[in-house]
Symmetry: C2
Subunit: 275 residues, 2 copies
């Protein structure tokens, strides 16, 4: 088995906090967090030595980051502001992912929890490109070859695309999630903390409408996941996604029911044109 | 005097509501609104017969729109969602401005007041281009020639740029506003209703930090403007912009202290390249 890239995203068992180096705790430490788990995760990963390891919510503790670096992996992480990009560059990441607020799923913000000041891709990418010397990967709202070309025009060295792949045969997207992505409902997304305790972008459904997408009543990350589980499971068993996290970016227009390699070839066409 | 384009934006004396045709009242009718004022405004405008009239917050009443059309003006208006773009196209606008949430000043939203579902430029432009047959003008986060090229790559027929012009000699930008635009503070903007009663994007300052940028305590549009006036005037007289609306988009990196024509020539260079 060859693992070329691993993305460590919002699972507290794979993450440690960037808070030891920043001025405030960037994410809550719930009862679900297990101090020794990140080391165990690194043990498993080291066996496969993925060529690229991409972090979310900042970076793990320096000794863990050093382990990843020692096996030769390129290290990426997401920045949602210019300040976060500068923070990551100062800690030696090989490239920074500029995650605009159009992006689906969890926001990668880690220096500030203020969602009011999160930035759109069109404004974020050129400002990060100007601020750092390392390559910048654009993410958020990129759905097709034209979007790739536009991101390259803004100075990106590459793109990260999520939502467009969610109908691909290889994706483990659930049936209710696929149905939502194919419907007009996918045009309306919002950031919500209801499903995990941290703000993430998903298609607006009944739970988000009735409670409001951001609620102080949601248990802290990651406990909200368990809190909503039985309602979600019951609804899904009835074919309803109204209580499920339907993660999606603001531009689901690029979703195609094709194989991931075909979609990648199509998207990469714009990279050739940009050269 | 030749007037080629007029933009009718958040002044209730120049606007009527789109609510008569939509399912809900799109903006509050405060005591400041004067039913006969839009007709008076049209009387004045008709004298100059501007070639382009661009509306914000939807469109005026049909009979007023017809007057503008009769003198031969091209009619534009802003859409912040695909639904708003379709609404405007159905009412015969000549082009639609796709206003991403990066844009500075007032959001042009008029069918929904839900800020949670406002869309970034990178996601909005291609989806509106796909949805309508009329030309789409991209707005929000476009700061320089690269941004213009990127917007064209996304399918825009043109761009609307605000923030980048705010340091131009011709701009009536106040001294405290110019100082803020030139400072690092310009990197952090948020939507706020504190200054007018309607959400608008400005550089975060003390008033926004201390009250919170969106507050139910703000008087309804446009009454908040008067409510904050004396505090603002006093602060500005002391050289402080901490209580002033410092409207700016999320990408102030393109602001230049040059003449507006020079800046326009520089920005238009990308349009030539895109052809």
């Amino acid at each position: 088995m060859k693992v070329t890239a691993v993305s460590l995203s919002p699972d507290p068992f794979l993450l440690t906090s960037a808070s030891s180096e920043s001025t405030r705790a960037p994410f809550p430490r719930g009862r679900g967090a297990c101090p020794s788990a990140p080391t165990a995760a690194a043990d498993v990963l080291e066996e496969f030595k993925p060529a690229v390891v991409s972090f979310h919510f900042g970076l793990p503790a320096p000794e863990l980051l050093e382990r990843v670096r020692r096996w030769g992996a390129k290290i990426l992480s997401s920045a949602t502001t210019v300040d976060e990009a500068l923070w990551l560059e100062a800690r030696g990441v090989d490239a920074v992912i500029a995650q605009g607020l159009e992006a689906g799923g969890h926001r990668g913000n880690f220096l500030s929890e203020d969602l009011n000041t999160q930035v759109g891709t069109f404004a974020l990418v050129p400002q990060i490109v100007r601020a750092v010397k390392i390559p910048v990967i654009a993410a958020g709202g990129i759905a097709d070859a034209k979007g790739v070309a536009a991101a390259m025009a803004l100075g990106a060295a590459g793109v990260q695309i999520g939502t467009a792949y969610m109908l691909c045969a290889e994706a483990t997207t659930s049936a209710v999630h696929r149905a939502a992505l194919k419907s007009d409902a996918a045009r309306v997304t919002a950031l919500t903390n209801l499903f995990t305790g941290r703000p993430a972008r998903g298609i607006v459904n009944r739970l988000m409408r009735e409670i409001g997408p951001m609620s102080p009543a949601a248990p802290a990350f990651p406990l909200a996941t368990a809190a909503i589980a039985s309602l979600r499971v019951k609804a899904e068993s009835l074919g309803s996604g109204e209580f499920s996290p339907l993660w999606a970016g603001q531009n689901a227009s690029g979703c195609k029911e094709v194989s991931a390699d075909l979609l990648t070839i199509e998207l990469a066409g714009a990279l050739e044109d940009a050269r």
